[in-house]
Amino acid sequence: MTCWDPRIEEMSKADLQALQYKYLKTSIYRLYSFSPFYHDRMKAAGVHPDDIRSLQDIVKLPFMYKKDLRDNYPDKMFVGGQDELVRYHVSSGTTGKPTVVGYTQNDLNNWALSVARALSSVGLGRKDIIQVSYGYGLFTGGLGLHYGAERVGATVVPASVGNTERQIELIQDLKVTAICCTPSYMLHLAETSQKMGVDINKDTRLRTAVLGAEPWSEKMRNRIQEITGVKAYDIYGTSELSGPLFTECTEQNGIHIWGDLAYVEVLDPETGEQLGPGEKGELVVTMLQKEALPMVRYRVGDITSYDDSTCACGRSHVRISRISGRVDDMLIIRGINVFPSQVEHALLEIPELGEHFQIEVDRKGALDSMLVRVELKPTAFSDKIDDLMSLKYKVAHVLHNSLNVAADVELVGPGTLTRFEGKAKRVVDRRNI
């Protein structure tokens, strides 16, 4: 498959590393000079930009964490003024405070470039009609894929999420060739089209699916490919790094991380030591050209391994394996990140409830469902069913508002949820992904 940007994508390892070093050095000088946050952090770690004399010296630099974004809400980690920003995206944070990401025009250009390279690596281009069925709005999925798809010259159908029957009609009527959505939505789409009597393989021109924003497995890929006849590719990214950025190529053998945009390390999450190729650990990403919110050695929290050999497709950039889990307790429900601590924080606002709760995640059909069990406080018990029902709706409403994803609520009696000595196990994940 031809590269979108062959000069970069097929660059020799030595040249790519020289380029990465140049970008890293520039970024670190800029941060040291203009980011009070990272300046202080470097001082505390006893590092000066002059200490970075090779790409390997990146290990001297201090980490960034999701907590930093929360502590510096909304924009105290930004570099440069508001007049340079052209967009915000907002995602939910760990304890109620969201994470805000700002973009300069160059940031948006590089984001679209990254997605454009990715889409061309799965064979998409000017002749394609791409339906973007990720949410448009504060979430990065919709607009991220949208700009990338436009950049490769494809025709975009900005379908966003929901109204599945209409989405299937559009796929048929507009002769859509590729779709971008979550893997569970792809399965839902396949099931719905079966019910409608539409055979995706025979009755549509859909041949490519770019799937991500939630964990999935090879097993699920095989299932999707078998049912629909569509070739399914894994896409990776997170809002702190811009949004969806990287995909597999047609080889389906690891996600290409564009080395001129991002430098990846895989670390032992306990010791912070770098691991070698093929060893599973925590993904740590340094964005090399980001302007508004530069991320250096960002502990993403996803578990993966890397492969720095040249891919059969000819691209020289490092590849990471499918994400196999999290180092923390973050859940991904219908593409939305949910931390149990967020649920706890939201429930604290409701005086009628005790402090114990349990989250049960399941997949009904193809879609994730989340059930939150909460204990009624004895003093809040009313003999009236109406009062109890409105309490239940109130809890569901508070959770939906703070998590941005709907949850079912079950009121249980005081003292009936399991108590834990030591670390509480509040999440039961029944999804067979």
Binding site: L376, K377, F381, L388, V412, G413, P414
Partner: protein, 141 residues
């Protein structure tokens, strides 16, 4: 003379064995259950009962960790024959008394409908003014 009766209400998840556990606890305390009902909503229920010793029942169940509350209800006597329910419900309808919930039991001498209403005192006055006969708490035992 007091016509308000203390009903005990217990929050219970809709799960097998919950009623048995509650009944077992009351038996242990030698508390007799005269009348009860179960109201069911999605996933949970409320058990309501008239018992021989409401205060003791409240204490016992609270100690066991249940969410328990008292609610004032009234017991309206009915003729235990066709038309018995019609007579008393007509009185309440005409007196504009709204029933939140009700359940009936066949009492020692005659049938009784246990009624929860918004304005307990107004309801008692209206029922007595129109020939309704009310149960006293002491008549339960």
């Amino acid at each position: 003379m007091s016509y308000t009766i203390k009903q005990i209400s217990i929050f219970a998840e809709n799960k097998p064995g919950r009623l048995a556990a509650i009944a077992d606890a009351l038996e242990e305390e030698k508390i007799n259950i005269y009348a009860f009902s179960i109201a069911e909503a999605s996933g949970f229920g409320v058990i309501r009962a008239l018992v021989s010793d409401p205060a003791k029942a409240h204490r016992k169940l609270t100690d066991l960790g249940y969410a328990v509350s008292f609610t004032d209800v009234i017991g309206v006597k009915m003729r235990d024959e066709p038309g018995g329910l019609k007579d008393i419900s007509r009185i309440m309808g005409e007196a504009n008394i709204n029933i939140e919930y009700a359940y009936a039991y066949s009492g020692k001498k005659e049938a009784v409908m246990v009624v929860r209403v918004d304005q307990v005192d107004d309801a008692i006055r209206a029922l007595q003014a129109h020939g309704g006969r009310l149960l006293e708490e002491k008549e339960l035992s």
